[in-house]
Amino acid sequence: MAIEVDGVSASYHLRVGRAAGWWGLRGLVSSDGAGRREVRALRDVTFAVPKGTVLGVIGRNGAGKSTLLRALSGILAPDEGRIIVRGRISPLLSVGLGMQGDLTGRENVRLGALAFGHDPLELPGLEASIIEFAQLGEYADFQFRTYSAGMRSRLGFAVAAHLDPEILLIDEALTGGDTKFKAKVEEKMFQLCTDGRTIVVVTHGLSLVREIATAALWLHQGQVREYGDPDEVVSAYMRYCRIEEAELAAVDDD
Protein backbone atom coordinates (compact mmCIF):
# COMPACT_ATOMS: atom_id res chain seq x y z
CA MET A 1 0.00 0.00 0.00
CA ALA A 2 1.25 3.47 -0.82
CA ILE A 3 -1.17 5.25 1.46
CA GLU A 4 -3.11 3.94 4.44
CA VAL A 5 -5.61 6.20 6.12
CA ASP A 6 -7.02 4.77 9.30
CA GLY A 7 -9.85 6.44 11.19
CA VAL A 8 -8.59 9.93 10.47
CA SER A 9 -10.35 13.03 11.72
CA ALA A 10 -8.89 16.46 11.11
CA SER A 11 -9.98 19.96 11.94
CA TYR A 12 -9.07 23.57 11.46
CA HIS A 13 -9.21 26.33 13.97
CA LEU A 14 -10.94 29.28 12.46
CA ARG A 15 -10.98 32.70 13.98
CA VAL A 16 -14.47 33.92 13.36
CA GLY A 17 -14.60 37.67 13.23
CA ARG A 18 -14.41 39.70 16.38
CA ALA A 19 -14.53 37.75 19.60
CA ALA A 20 -17.70 38.52 21.53
CA GLY A 21 -18.03 39.05 25.25
CA TRP A 22 -15.72 40.98 27.56
CA TRP A 23 -14.17 42.79 24.60
CA GLY A 24 -12.76 39.58 23.25
CA LEU A 25 -11.07 38.52 26.47
CA ARG A 26 -13.21 35.42 26.67
CA GLY A 27 -11.60 34.14 23.51
CA LEU A 28 -8.28 34.32 25.32
CA VAL A 29 -9.24 32.43 28.44
CA SER A 30 -10.99 29.54 26.76
CA SER A 31 -9.80 27.98 23.56
CA ASP A 32 -13.36 27.16 22.56
CA GLY A 33 -14.35 30.71 23.34
CA ALA A 34 -16.21 33.02 21.10
CA GLY A 35 -13.22 34.01 18.97
CA ARG A 36 -12.35 30.58 17.68
CA ARG A 37 -14.26 27.81 16.09
CA GLU A 38 -13.11 24.36 15.37
CA VAL A 39 -14.16 23.09 11.98
CA ARG A 40 -14.08 19.35 11.58
CA ALA A 41 -13.14 18.86 7.97
CA LEU A 42 -12.58 15.09 8.03
CA ARG A 43 -14.47 12.61 10.18
CA ASP A 44 -13.33 9.06 10.68
CA VAL A 45 -11.95 8.58 7.19
CA THR A 46 -10.52 5.15 6.39
CA PHE A 47 -9.18 3.88 3.09
CA ALA A 48 -6.05 2.40 1.57
CA VAL A 49 -4.40 3.17 -1.76
CA PRO A 50 -2.20 0.51 -3.40
CA LYS A 51 0.97 1.58 -5.18
CA GLY A 52 0.41 2.63 -8.76
CA THR A 53 -3.17 3.72 -8.22
CA VAL A 54 -4.55 6.85 -9.78
CA LEU A 55 -7.10 7.95 -7.23
CA GLY A 56 -9.66 10.57 -8.15
CA VAL A 57 -11.15 12.36 -5.13
CA ILE A 58 -14.53 13.89 -5.82
CA GLY A 59 -17.18 15.60 -3.78
CA ARG A 60 -18.89 18.93 -3.39
CA ASN A 61 -17.15 22.10 -2.31
CA GLY A 62 -16.28 21.94 1.37
CA ALA A 63 -16.47 18.15 1.49
CA GLY A 64 -12.94 17.95 2.88
CA LYS A 65 -11.07 17.09 -0.32
CA SER A 66 -8.30 19.64 0.06
CA THR A 67 -8.02 18.90 3.76
CA LEU A 68 -7.53 15.25 2.89
CA LEU A 69 -4.63 16.14 0.60
CA ARG A 70 -3.09 18.32 3.30
CA ALA A 71 -3.39 15.49 5.79
CA LEU A 72 -1.85 12.99 3.35
CA SER A 73 1.14 15.22 2.78
CA GLY A 74 1.69 15.80 6.49
CA ILE A 75 0.92 19.51 6.35
CA LEU A 76 -2.07 19.12 8.61
CA ALA A 77 -1.71 16.73 11.54
CA PRO A 78 -4.85 14.67 12.14
CA ASP A 79 -6.71 14.96 15.46
CA GLU A 80 -7.39 11.27 15.53
CA GLY A 81 -6.33 8.25 13.57
CA ARG A 82 -3.21 7.57 11.62
CA ILE A 83 -1.91 8.01 8.10
CA ILE A 84 0.92 5.91 6.74
CA VAL A 85 2.58 7.02 3.53
CA ARG A 86 5.20 4.90 1.78
CA GLY A 87 7.31 6.68 -0.81
CA ARG A 88 8.41 10.23 -1.51
CA ILE A 89 5.32 12.36 -1.52
CA SER A 90 4.85 15.47 -3.59
CA PRO A 91 5.62 18.58 -1.60
CA LEU A 92 3.38 21.05 -3.34
CA LEU A 93 -0.32 20.86 -3.33
CA SER A 94 -2.59 23.43 -4.63
CA VAL A 95 -2.28 24.89 -7.95
CA GLY A 96 -0.70 28.22 -7.26
CA LEU A 97 -1.61 28.54 -3.61
CA GLY A 98 1.88 27.95 -2.32
CA MET A 99 3.33 30.55 -4.63
CA GLN A 100 4.36 33.93 -3.33
CA GLY A 101 3.02 37.01 -4.98
CA ASP A 102 6.07 39.30 -4.87
CA LEU A 103 8.37 36.70 -6.32
CA THR A 104 8.61 35.93 -10.00
CA GLY A 105 7.29 32.71 -11.46
CA ARG A 106 10.86 31.53 -11.96
CA GLU A 107 11.77 32.23 -8.31
CA ASN A 108 8.69 30.37 -7.15
CA VAL A 109 9.67 27.40 -9.28
CA ARG A 110 13.18 27.40 -7.81
CA LEU A 111 11.83 27.62 -4.27
CA GLY A 112 9.39 24.78 -4.86
CA ALA A 113 12.10 22.54 -6.27
CA LEU A 114 14.56 23.40 -3.49
CA ALA A 115 11.93 22.84 -0.79
CA PHE A 116 11.41 19.38 -2.24
CA GLY A 117 15.12 18.79 -1.82
CA HIS A 118 16.24 18.95 -5.44
CA ASP A 119 19.91 19.26 -6.15
CA PRO A 120 20.64 22.97 -6.77
CA LEU A 121 22.92 21.96 -9.64
CA GLU A 122 20.06 20.36 -11.56
CA LEU A 123 17.91 23.41 -11.05
CA PRO A 124 18.46 25.33 -14.30
CA GLY A 125 17.34 22.44 -16.52
CA LEU A 126 14.34 21.63 -14.38
CA GLU A 127 13.39 25.28 -14.21
CA ALA A 128 13.49 25.61 -17.99
CA SER A 129 11.32 22.56 -18.62
CA ILE A 130 8.74 23.62 -16.02
CA ILE A 131 8.49 27.11 -17.48
CA GLU A 132 8.21 25.70 -20.96
CA PHE A 133 5.50 23.25 -19.94
CA ALA A 134 3.54 26.03 -18.25
CA GLN A 135 3.88 28.17 -21.39
CA LEU A 136 4.89 31.20 -19.37
CA GLY A 137 7.18 32.76 -21.95
CA GLU A 138 8.47 36.14 -20.85
CA TYR A 139 6.07 36.13 -17.90
CA ALA A 140 8.45 33.76 -16.13
CA ASP A 141 10.34 36.80 -14.86
CA PHE A 142 7.27 38.78 -13.88
CA GLN A 143 5.98 38.76 -10.33
CA PHE A 144 3.53 35.96 -9.63
CA ARG A 145 0.80 38.37 -8.54
CA THR A 146 0.60 39.71 -12.10
CA TYR A 147 -0.39 36.29 -13.44
CA SER A 148 -3.83 35.40 -14.68
CA ALA A 149 -5.72 32.56 -13.01
CA GLY A 150 -4.93 30.31 -15.95
CA MET A 151 -1.21 31.04 -15.76
CA ARG A 152 -1.22 30.38 -12.04
CA SER A 153 -2.78 26.98 -12.36
CA ARG A 154 -0.61 26.07 -15.34
CA LEU A 155 2.51 26.87 -13.35
CA GLY A 156 1.25 25.05 -10.27
CA PHE A 157 0.53 21.88 -12.19
CA ALA A 158 3.81 22.09 -14.07
CA VAL A 159 5.79 22.31 -10.83
CA ALA A 160 3.92 19.46 -9.13
CA ALA A 161 4.23 17.21 -12.18
CA HIS A 162 7.94 17.87 -12.75
CA LEU A 163 9.21 17.29 -9.24
CA ASP A 164 8.98 13.56 -9.82
CA PRO A 165 7.60 12.38 -6.51
CA GLU A 166 6.53 8.76 -6.09
CA ILE A 167 3.21 9.88 -4.72
CA LEU A 168 1.84 12.86 -6.54
CA LEU A 169 -0.91 14.97 -4.99
CA ILE A 170 -2.79 17.31 -7.29
CA ASP A 171 -5.47 19.69 -6.12
CA GLU A 172 -8.08 21.00 -8.54
CA ALA A 173 -6.04 20.05 -11.57
CA LEU A 174 -8.39 21.25 -14.20
CA THR A 175 -10.04 24.32 -12.78
CA GLY A 176 -7.89 26.75 -14.73
CA GLY A 177 -6.29 26.76 -18.09
CA ASP A 178 -7.81 26.68 -21.53
CA THR A 179 -8.88 23.63 -23.51
CA LYS A 180 -5.50 23.26 -25.12
CA PHE A 181 -3.72 23.20 -21.80
CA LYS A 182 -6.29 20.83 -20.34
CA ALA A 183 -5.44 18.39 -23.09
CA LYS A 184 -1.78 18.81 -22.25
CA VAL A 185 -2.48 18.19 -18.56
CA GLU A 186 -4.40 15.03 -19.35
CA GLU A 187 -1.60 13.82 -21.56
CA LYS A 188 0.94 14.51 -18.81
CA MET A 189 -1.22 12.72 -16.27
CA PHE A 190 -1.49 9.70 -18.54
CA GLN A 191 2.25 9.70 -18.91
CA LEU A 192 2.79 10.06 -15.16
CA CYS A 193 0.41 7.28 -14.24
CA THR A 194 1.72 4.73 -16.68
CA ASP A 195 5.01 4.38 -14.86
CA GLY A 196 3.73 3.04 -11.58
CA ARG A 197 3.43 6.31 -9.75
CA THR A 198 0.67 6.78 -7.21
CA ILE A 199 -1.44 9.82 -7.96
CA VAL A 200 -4.14 11.39 -5.84
CA VAL A 201 -6.04 14.03 -7.74
CA VAL A 202 -8.79 16.20 -6.35
CA THR A 203 -10.97 17.37 -9.17
CA HIS A 204 -14.39 18.43 -10.30
CA GLY A 205 -13.68 17.00 -13.73
CA LEU A 206 -15.67 13.79 -13.49
CA SER A 207 -14.77 12.70 -17.01
CA LEU A 208 -11.10 12.91 -16.06
CA VAL A 209 -11.74 10.56 -13.16
CA ARG A 210 -13.54 8.15 -15.47
CA GLU A 211 -10.80 8.23 -18.05
CA ILE A 212 -7.60 7.97 -16.11
CA ALA A 213 -8.40 7.08 -12.50
CA THR A 214 -8.15 3.48 -11.37
CA ALA A 215 -10.05 4.23 -8.18
CA ALA A 216 -12.32 6.99 -6.96
CA LEU A 217 -13.15 8.33 -3.53
CA TRP A 218 -16.28 10.34 -2.91
CA LEU A 219 -16.09 12.52 0.15
CA HIS A 220 -19.26 13.93 1.61
CA GLN A 221 -19.25 16.27 4.61
CA GLY A 222 -15.86 15.01 5.68
CA GLN A 223 -16.77 11.35 5.45
CA VAL A 224 -16.15 8.65 2.86
CA ARG A 225 -19.40 8.12 1.02
CA GLU A 226 -18.09 5.67 -1.56
CA TYR A 227 -14.75 4.25 -2.53
CA GLY A 228 -13.91 1.88 -5.33
CA ASP A 229 -14.31 1.54 -9.07
CA PRO A 230 -14.25 5.01 -10.66
CA ASP A 231 -17.22 4.38 -12.96
CA GLU A 232 -19.41 3.22 -10.12
CA VAL A 233 -18.38 5.97 -7.72
CA VAL A 234 -18.77 8.69 -10.33
CA SER A 235 -22.18 7.34 -11.34
CA ALA A 236 -23.30 7.22 -7.74
CA TYR A 237 -22.05 10.74 -7.19
CA MET A 238 -23.81 12.02 -10.28
CA ARG A 239 -27.03 10.29 -9.23
CA TYR A 240 -26.74 11.93 -5.84
CA CYS A 241 -26.14 15.30 -7.39
CA ARG A 242 -29.18 14.97 -9.65
CA ILE A 243 -31.45 13.76 -6.91
CA GLU A 244 -30.36 16.09 -4.13
CA GLU A 245 -29.93 19.27 -6.07
CA ALA A 246 -30.64 19.10 -9.74
CA GLU A 247 -28.69 22.24 -10.49
CA LEU A 248 -25.50 20.76 -9.09
CA ALA A 249 -25.28 18.44 -12.07
CA ALA A 250 -23.48 21.35 -13.67
CA VAL A 251 -20.48 20.49 -11.50
CA ASP A 252 -19.36 18.14 -14.23
CA ASP A 253 -17.81 20.81 -16.32
CA ASP A 254 -17.49 18.69 -19.44
Partner: protein, 290 residues
Amino acid sequence: MIVQGPDASQRPYSDVVQVFERNTLALPPLRAYLAELLDRRAFLVELARAEVRGQRSSTFLGELWSLIDPMFQALVYYLLFVVIRGGSGGGRATEFITAIIGSVFLFNYTRISISEGGRSILRHRGLVLNAIFPRALLPMAEVYKGFRSTLPAFAIYLVIHLAMRAPVTQAVFLIPLLLVIQTVMNLGLALLLSTATAYFNDVANLLTYILRLLTVATPVMYPVSLLTPALRGVLAWNPLFALFAAYQAIITGEAPAFGLILQSMVWATVTLVVGVWLFLRHERSFGIHI
Protein backbone atom coordinates in the same frame (compact mmCIF):
# COMPACT_ATOMS: atom_id res chain seq x y z
CA MET B 1 -12.43 -0.80 1.84
CA ILE B 2 -9.57 -1.96 -0.34
CA VAL B 3 -9.06 -1.21 -3.97
CA GLN B 4 -7.07 -3.58 -6.09
CA GLY B 5 -4.11 -1.73 -7.55
CA PRO B 6 -2.47 -2.13 -10.93
CA ASP B 7 0.93 -3.70 -11.19
CA ALA B 8 3.38 -1.26 -9.66
CA SER B 9 6.43 -3.44 -10.03
CA GLN B 10 8.01 -1.35 -12.80
CA ARG B 11 8.69 1.48 -10.43
CA PRO B 12 10.87 0.93 -7.42
CA TYR B 13 9.69 3.10 -4.54
CA SER B 14 12.16 4.54 -2.12
CA ASP B 15 11.83 3.15 1.39
CA VAL B 16 10.60 6.42 2.90
CA VAL B 17 7.79 5.67 5.31
CA GLN B 18 6.00 8.51 7.00
CA VAL B 19 3.41 8.18 9.71
CA PHE B 20 1.17 11.11 10.52
CA GLU B 21 -0.71 11.15 13.78
CA ARG B 22 -2.05 13.67 16.22
CA ASN B 23 0.68 16.12 17.16
CA THR B 24 1.76 15.04 20.61
CA LEU B 25 4.05 18.06 20.99
CA ALA B 26 7.00 15.70 21.15
CA LEU B 27 10.29 16.91 19.76
CA PRO B 28 11.28 15.41 16.41
CA PRO B 29 14.63 13.59 16.29
CA LEU B 30 17.04 16.53 16.37
CA ARG B 31 19.85 15.00 14.36
CA ALA B 32 17.56 14.04 11.47
CA TYR B 33 15.93 17.46 11.55
CA LEU B 34 19.28 19.19 11.44
CA ALA B 35 20.38 17.00 8.52
CA GLU B 36 17.23 17.94 6.65
CA LEU B 37 17.85 21.63 7.32
CA LEU B 38 21.38 21.32 5.99
CA ASP B 39 20.03 19.51 2.96
CA ARG B 40 17.71 22.37 2.16
CA ARG B 41 20.12 25.20 2.82
CA ALA B 42 19.89 26.20 -0.84
CA PHE B 43 16.18 26.85 -0.27
CA LEU B 44 16.98 29.15 2.63
CA VAL B 45 19.48 31.19 0.63
CA GLU B 46 17.18 31.37 -2.38
CA LEU B 47 14.20 32.45 -0.27
CA ALA B 48 16.18 35.23 1.41
CA ARG B 49 17.62 36.42 -1.88
CA ALA B 50 14.34 36.31 -3.75
CA GLU B 51 12.63 38.26 -0.98
CA VAL B 52 15.20 41.03 -0.96
CA ARG B 53 14.93 41.26 -4.74
CA GLY B 54 11.13 41.23 -4.55
CA GLN B 55 11.10 44.08 -2.05
CA ARG B 56 13.56 46.15 -4.07
CA SER B 57 12.32 45.35 -7.55
CA SER B 58 9.61 47.99 -7.50
CA THR B 59 12.11 50.79 -6.75
CA PHE B 60 14.11 52.69 -9.32
CA LEU B 61 17.45 52.40 -7.51
CA GLY B 62 16.92 48.75 -6.62
CA GLU B 63 19.88 47.12 -4.91
CA LEU B 64 21.56 50.48 -4.32
CA TRP B 65 19.13 51.06 -1.48
CA SER B 66 21.05 48.63 0.69
CA LEU B 67 23.83 51.26 0.64
CA ILE B 68 21.64 54.35 0.63
CA ASP B 69 19.53 53.28 3.60
CA PRO B 70 22.39 53.09 6.10
CA MET B 71 23.88 56.34 4.79
CA PHE B 72 20.67 58.20 5.43
CA GLN B 73 20.35 56.54 8.80
CA ALA B 74 23.86 57.66 9.74
CA LEU B 75 23.10 61.16 8.53
CA VAL B 76 19.94 61.39 10.62
CA TYR B 77 21.76 60.33 13.78
CA TYR B 78 24.58 62.73 12.99
CA LEU B 79 22.07 65.58 12.69
CA LEU B 80 20.29 64.56 15.87
CA PHE B 81 23.24 63.89 18.14
CA VAL B 82 25.98 66.16 16.79
CA VAL B 83 24.35 69.11 15.07
CA ILE B 84 21.33 69.52 17.35
CA ARG B 85 22.39 68.08 20.67
CA GLY B 86 26.09 68.77 20.20
CA GLY B 87 25.31 72.46 19.68
CA SER B 88 23.66 72.67 23.08
CA GLY B 89 26.81 71.60 24.88
CA GLY B 90 26.69 67.81 24.59
CA GLY B 91 30.38 67.37 23.80
CA ARG B 92 30.29 63.74 24.86
CA ALA B 93 27.63 63.16 22.21
CA THR B 94 30.00 64.23 19.47
CA GLU B 95 32.53 61.65 20.59
CA PHE B 96 29.83 59.14 20.91
CA ILE B 97 28.34 59.47 17.45
CA THR B 98 30.38 56.60 15.96
CA ALA B 99 29.21 54.32 18.75
CA ILE B 100 25.61 55.28 18.05
CA ILE B 101 25.84 54.75 14.31
CA GLY B 102 27.70 51.46 14.70
CA SER B 103 25.28 50.15 17.32
CA VAL B 104 22.26 51.18 15.26
CA PHE B 105 23.59 49.23 12.28
CA LEU B 106 24.31 46.20 14.44
CA PHE B 107 20.89 46.49 16.02
CA ASN B 108 19.32 46.50 12.55
CA TYR B 109 20.36 42.88 12.21
CA THR B 110 18.42 41.96 15.33
CA ARG B 111 15.55 44.25 14.36
CA ILE B 112 15.06 42.48 11.02
CA SER B 113 15.35 39.08 12.70
CA ILE B 114 12.61 40.00 15.15
CA SER B 115 10.21 41.83 12.88
CA GLU B 116 10.58 39.67 9.77
CA GLY B 117 11.58 36.43 11.46
CA GLY B 118 8.81 36.82 14.01
CA ARG B 119 6.22 37.10 11.25
CA SER B 120 7.77 34.50 8.96
CA ILE B 121 5.28 31.66 9.52
CA LEU B 122 2.27 33.93 9.12
CA ARG B 123 3.69 35.70 6.10
CA HIS B 124 4.49 32.47 4.31
CA ARG B 125 1.07 31.06 5.06
CA GLY B 126 0.69 29.89 1.48
CA LEU B 127 3.90 27.89 1.64
CA VAL B 128 3.14 26.47 5.08
CA LEU B 129 -0.32 25.31 4.00
CA ASN B 130 0.71 23.88 0.66
CA ALA B 131 4.26 22.67 0.78
CA ILE B 132 6.23 20.34 2.98
CA PHE B 133 9.65 21.27 4.29
CA PRO B 134 11.14 21.84 7.72
CA ARG B 135 9.36 25.00 8.85
CA ALA B 136 12.39 26.28 10.73
CA LEU B 137 13.78 27.25 7.32
CA LEU B 138 11.40 30.20 7.24
CA PRO B 139 12.58 32.08 10.37
CA MET B 140 16.15 31.04 9.56
CA ALA B 141 15.88 32.55 6.10
CA GLU B 142 14.76 35.84 7.65
CA VAL B 143 17.73 35.90 10.00
CA TYR B 144 20.00 35.21 7.07
CA LYS B 145 18.27 37.97 5.16
CA GLY B 146 18.84 40.29 8.11
CA PHE B 147 22.54 39.52 8.10
CA ARG B 148 22.92 39.87 4.36
CA SER B 149 21.10 43.17 4.24
CA THR B 150 23.14 44.56 7.15
CA LEU B 151 26.48 43.76 5.50
CA PRO B 152 26.61 46.90 3.31
CA ALA B 153 25.93 48.97 6.43
CA PHE B 154 28.93 47.41 8.15
CA ALA B 155 31.11 48.45 5.23
CA ILE B 156 29.77 51.98 5.41
CA TYR B 157 30.31 52.04 9.13
CA LEU B 158 33.94 51.07 8.68
CA VAL B 159 34.47 54.11 6.48
CA ILE B 160 32.73 56.37 9.00
CA HIS B 161 34.72 54.91 11.88
CA LEU B 162 38.03 55.55 10.16
CA ALA B 163 37.00 58.96 8.85
CA MET B 164 36.01 60.10 12.35
CA ARG B 165 39.37 58.80 13.63
CA ALA B 166 37.58 56.70 16.20
CA PRO B 167 39.86 54.39 18.19
CA VAL B 168 40.73 50.91 16.99
CA THR B 169 42.15 48.46 19.54
CA GLN B 170 42.90 44.76 19.65
CA ALA B 171 39.36 44.26 20.98
CA VAL B 172 38.05 44.42 17.38
CA PHE B 173 39.08 40.79 17.07
CA LEU B 174 36.22 39.99 19.41
CA ILE B 175 33.65 41.30 16.91
CA PRO B 176 33.30 38.05 14.93
CA LEU B 177 32.62 36.22 18.19
CA LEU B 178 30.00 38.79 19.17
CA LEU B 179 28.38 38.47 15.73
CA VAL B 180 28.12 34.72 16.23
CA ILE B 181 26.51 35.30 19.62
CA GLN B 182 24.13 37.80 18.06
CA THR B 183 23.22 35.36 15.30
CA VAL B 184 22.45 32.63 17.83
CA MET B 185 20.28 35.08 19.77
CA ASN B 186 18.52 36.28 16.61
CA LEU B 187 17.74 32.72 15.58
CA GLY B 188 16.31 31.98 19.00
CA LEU B 189 14.17 35.12 18.95
CA ALA B 190 12.93 34.47 15.40
CA LEU B 191 11.95 30.87 16.23
CA LEU B 192 10.28 31.84 19.48
CA LEU B 193 8.36 34.80 18.10
CA SER B 194 7.28 33.10 14.88
CA THR B 195 5.76 30.27 16.93
CA ALA B 196 3.93 32.82 19.05
CA THR B 197 2.57 34.73 16.04
CA ALA B 198 1.42 31.50 14.38
CA TYR B 199 -0.76 30.76 17.41
CA PHE B 200 -1.77 34.30 18.30
CA ASN B 201 -1.82 36.62 15.33
CA ASP B 202 -2.02 39.48 17.81
CA VAL B 203 1.63 39.01 18.67
CA ALA B 204 2.47 40.28 15.18
CA ASN B 205 1.03 43.64 16.23
CA LEU B 206 2.91 43.51 19.52
CA LEU B 207 6.22 43.00 17.73
CA THR B 208 6.38 46.68 16.81
CA TYR B 209 6.20 47.64 20.48
CA ILE B 210 8.54 44.89 21.62
CA LEU B 211 11.08 46.29 19.18
CA ARG B 212 10.62 49.87 20.36
CA LEU B 213 11.02 48.77 23.95
CA LEU B 214 14.17 46.85 23.05
CA THR B 215 15.62 49.85 21.23
CA VAL B 216 15.31 51.85 24.44
CA ALA B 217 16.32 49.07 26.82
CA THR B 218 19.46 48.24 24.86
CA PRO B 219 22.51 50.52 24.91
CA VAL B 220 22.22 51.58 21.29
CA MET B 221 21.81 55.32 21.58
CA TYR B 222 23.29 56.06 24.99
CA PRO B 223 26.55 55.21 26.74
CA VAL B 224 26.29 52.43 29.27
CA SER B 225 28.24 54.62 31.71
CA LEU B 226 25.27 56.98 31.82
CA LEU B 227 23.13 54.43 33.63
CA THR B 228 22.80 54.22 37.39
CA PRO B 229 23.84 50.83 38.85
CA ALA B 230 20.23 50.17 39.84
CA LEU B 231 18.98 50.81 36.33
CA ARG B 232 21.75 48.66 34.91
CA GLY B 233 20.65 45.84 37.15
CA VAL B 234 17.15 46.06 35.75
CA LEU B 235 18.25 46.35 32.13
CA ALA B 236 20.57 43.36 32.48
CA TRP B 237 17.39 41.28 32.19
CA ASN B 238 17.16 42.42 28.60
CA PRO B 239 18.88 39.57 26.68
CA LEU B 240 20.43 42.08 24.30
CA PHE B 241 21.90 44.37 26.97
CA ALA B 242 25.21 42.64 27.65
CA LEU B 243 25.87 42.02 23.96
CA PHE B 244 25.37 45.64 22.96
CA ALA B 245 27.29 46.89 25.98
CA ALA B 246 30.19 44.78 24.72
CA TYR B 247 29.83 46.16 21.18
CA GLN B 248 29.77 49.68 22.58
CA ALA B 249 32.96 49.10 24.55
CA ILE B 250 34.79 47.87 21.46
CA ILE B 251 33.58 50.72 19.24
CA THR B 252 34.67 53.34 21.78
CA GLY B 253 38.08 51.74 22.03
CA GLU B 254 37.81 49.86 25.29
CA ALA B 255 38.11 46.18 25.97
CA PRO B 256 34.72 44.72 26.93
CA ALA B 257 34.57 43.10 30.35
CA PHE B 258 34.73 39.33 30.15
CA GLY B 259 31.55 39.20 32.21
CA LEU B 260 29.62 40.96 29.44
CA ILE B 261 30.66 38.39 26.85
CA LEU B 262 29.88 35.50 29.14
CA GLN B 263 26.50 37.02 29.97
CA SER B 264 25.59 37.48 26.31
CA MET B 265 26.65 33.91 25.58
CA VAL B 266 24.36 32.62 28.30
CA TRP B 267 21.45 34.74 27.06
CA ALA B 268 22.00 33.64 23.47
CA THR B 269 22.08 29.97 24.45
CA VAL B 270 18.96 30.27 26.58
CA THR B 271 17.10 32.09 23.80
CA LEU B 272 18.07 29.53 21.17
CA VAL B 273 17.19 26.53 23.34
CA VAL B 274 13.79 27.96 24.26
CA GLY B 275 13.15 29.02 20.66
CA VAL B 276 14.09 25.64 19.18
CA TRP B 277 12.13 23.76 21.82
CA LEU B 278 8.96 25.79 21.27
CA PHE B 279 9.19 25.84 17.50
CA LEU B 280 9.92 22.17 16.94
CA ARG B 281 7.20 21.06 19.31
CA HIS B 282 4.59 23.14 17.57
CA GLU B 283 5.59 23.28 13.93
CA ARG B 284 3.38 20.34 12.96
CA SER B 285 0.38 22.20 14.33
CA PHE B 286 0.99 25.40 12.36
CA GLY B 287 -1.29 24.14 9.58
CA ILE B 288 -4.22 23.97 11.99
CA HIS B 289 -3.80 27.45 13.37
CA ILE B 290 -2.74 29.84 10.66
